[in-house]
């Protein structure tokens, strides 16, 4: 058990982060904290991608031109896979956009309802519906 944890420490951390994020989304009634949980959850997935791309001892995939005689990468070169990094750059942008959108909605909800607690919101919504007879 400990050995597995030692070998796969990164994945253990990612898993913990993922669960913390999801738990926060589900358990908290505060909309801002829910967004925080969502961000933690997304970040754990970013780490998952980066962790698979990183190779022990590998740096960025940038090579000295003198090595690239025939335009090929030296066969013994050790480098981190750049593709997941690029993917995650995109995913971070998506995550930021989602966070911005979510927080903008929270601001508007606060303005319109005067609260950002989920249980109070559902109560108000419920009262609204009763008033309209829906």
């Amino acid at each position: 058990m400990l050995e597995i944890l030692g070998d796969r420490f990164t994945f253990a951390v990612i898993l913990v982060l993922m669960m913390v994020g999801l738990y926060a989304v589900i358990a908290t009634g505060n909309l801002v904290k829910r967004m925080v949980g969502l961000s933690i959850f997304q970040t754990s997935v970013f780490l998952l991608y980066i962790a698979t791309a990183k190779v022990t001892g590998g740096g960025p995939a940038i090579f000295d031109y003198s090595d690239l005689a025939a335009g090929t990468i030296p066969p013994d070169a050790v480098y981190a896979n750049p593709l997941p990094h690029v993917l995650i750059l995109t995913a971070i942008v998506v995550g930021v956009a989602t966070l911005a959108m979510g927080l903008a909605l929270v601001v508007r909800i606060r303005e319109v309802y005067g609260t950002i607690e989920d249980d109070e919101l559902s109560e108000i919504d419920h009262d609204d519906e009763l008033k309209r007879g829906v």
Binding site: L22, V45, L48, L87, A97, M101, L105, R108, D128
Partner: protein
């Protein structure tokens, strides 16, 4: 690709232009102040998307035709590829045509519901949403699919929330959708990550080949499960549909009409693509997932959501629950894991867009004239708005599955496919769910046609503008025309199903 009716220079880039034109138009649409001009640009953008979709559809009509477009000239599998066969060509055509009809309807409806300063921004967000959906429907790259999915989703959250000027509950509905949608999309990314780690590729056709060579690998199977749950959330697969009823009930009428006809359909397509092509349906693992996970959930959705619809007083929420039930019908077709079943699912996907389009558009016309959304308020509407009520009735009858409407055609093929698979219990579930649909539709139709008119509504209503009347008539007419002359739609669905299955066998 062989140009069909457009000039060769445009036809060659049709897959890219289909996504790019709405996306590019969204920027100037956001900058101008006039909502009317922004609407014109939106009609232009979606209209050109429809023309391009028709071009692509005709080009991929031949059996086994696959249109591959290397984005930026970078050859797949390393570059991003737009890959279109009969399956997504049909979807793109559906997106374009229902998109154009609902956008025409948007003009008067949005002018009524959204404040003057926000209209052009609203259309801009809608164009982004449309571009994202078309991107999801055409891309052949798994990560690119995620990006397009989120582009469309984030724009969707914004346009749903715009319903707050009529009803503030739109805000909480949109926020809940945002939380659920983001979890769904993140699950999809986890799934793609697992597959990428195992196969080392992001191109979906290439993934399919690599997975077929793996012959069962736990990491890939976990990836599939994550993708199924993630996209299931977006497709409102029961019990992951909790975001949908409120989002549909409180969004602006136009947004509900558009989402009901397209958004869950695109997510459904992604499920088909992954379960039939990226993962081959023949493998025991995927077939088991279809039969033991998708099918029971589909049937539960059909029965539970239909029953929930019975108890709704808000008509839009009623039809939102009915949409969840209808997603169940499509999923049932998919879950049969046969060619007949899949084509019945695709057929229902196309037909459902016609019925719900007509229904929600008619509700939009009612809301525009009287600002009503409860069943009690519909009393005697048939006397003051007979034409709109008639169109609504056609949509409602089609939803139930009355003969000579498209709803009957899709249920007929679905039952045939179920009998072919020997699933008599699925037939029973379809019939029970249809009977429940009779009850909830009956309540509304009685209110419209039989109950005497409310005193408050004796004043003659605002005339329904032409921009609503024409698309509504087209959609209601389509329900009848394709209900009698079903061949074109059935052939389209069959070609789509064949393409999906063929691509899975030899990717």
């Amino acid at each position: 690709m062989e140009p069909q009716f457009l000039p060769a220079a445009i036809a060659a880039h049709a897959p890219a232009l289909l996504v790019m034109i709405p996306l590019i138009l969204s920027a100037p649409a956001a900058m101008i102040t006039s909502g009317r001009v922004a609407w014109g640009m939106t009609v232009l953008g979606i209209g050109s998307a429809l023309v391009l979709a028709l071009e692509i559809f005709l080009a991929t009509r031949a059996e086994g035709a696959v249109l591959s477009y290397a984005m930026g000239g970078w050859e797949p599998p390393l570059g991003i590829e737009f890959r279109i066969d009969a399956l997504n060509a049909a979807l793109l055509l559906l997106l374009g045509s229902t998109g154009l009809l609902t956008v025409l309807f948007a003009g008067p409806s949005v002018a009524d519901e959204i404040s003057r300063q926000k209209r052009s921004l609203f259309y801009s967000a809608f164009l982004i949403c449309f571009a994202g959906l078309s991107g999801v429907a055409s891309t052949g790259d798994a990560f690119n699919l995620f990006v397009f999915l989120e582009i469309s989703s984030i724009a969707t959250y914004a346009i749903i929330a715009m319903g707050w000027s009529k009803d503030r509950q739109a805000l909480t509905a949109s926020f809940n959708y945002l939380v659920m949608g983001t979890i769904g999309a993140t699950f999809f990314v986890i799934g793609v990550g697992f597959i990428y780690m195992t196969t080392g590729t992001l191109n979906m056709a290439d993934m399919g080949r690599a997975i077929a060579d793996l012959n069962g690998n736990r990491a890939v199977e976990v990836g599939f499960a994550f993708i199924l749950v993630g996209i299931g959330l977006k497709a409102a697969l029961f019990p992951l549909h909790q975001w949908l009823p409120n989002a549909y009930a409180y969004a602006p009428n136009f947004v509900t009409t558009f989402l009901a006809t397209t958004a869950t359909k695109v997510a459904f397509y992604v499920i088909i693509r992954f379960s039939y092509d990226v993962f081959s349906i023949g493998t025991g693992f995927v077939t088991n997932a279809m039969i033991w996970v998708i099918t029971p959930l589909a049937i539960a959705g059909m029965l539970v959501a239909s029953t929930q619809a019975l108890f709704q007083n808000n008509v839009r929420r009623l039809f939102a629950y009915s949409s969840v039930a209808q997603v169940g019908y499509m999923m049932l077709g998919l879950g049969m894991a046969t060619s007949l079943g899949l084509s019945a699912g695709m057929l229902h996907l196309i037909n459902h867009a016609m019925m719900k389009g007509a229904l929600f558009m008619a509700l939009g016309a009612f809301a525009l004239s009287y600002g009503i959304r409860r069943i009690e308020d519909f009393k005697g509407l048939g006397q003051v708005m007979p034409v709109t009520s008639a169109a609504f009735t056609i949509g409602a009858l089609s939803l139930v599955g009355v003969p000579f409407t498209v709803g009957f055609i899709s249920k007929f093929y679905l039952i045939q496919a179920a009998l072919d698979a020997g699933w008599w219990w699925a037939v029973a579930a379809i019939l029970i769910s249809s009977v429940i649909a009779v009850f909830y539709v009956y309540r509304i139709l009685v209110a419209i046609w039989v109950t005497p008119l409310d005193e408050a509504r004796k004043t003659s209503p605002k005339r329904v503008p032409l921009a609503i009347a024409v698309p509504l008539a087209v959609l209601a007419g389509a329900n009848l025309v394709f209900g009698v002359w079903a061949e074109p739609i059935v052939d389209m669905a069959r070609a789509a199903a064949d393409a999906a299955i063929a691509a899975g066998v030899n990717p």
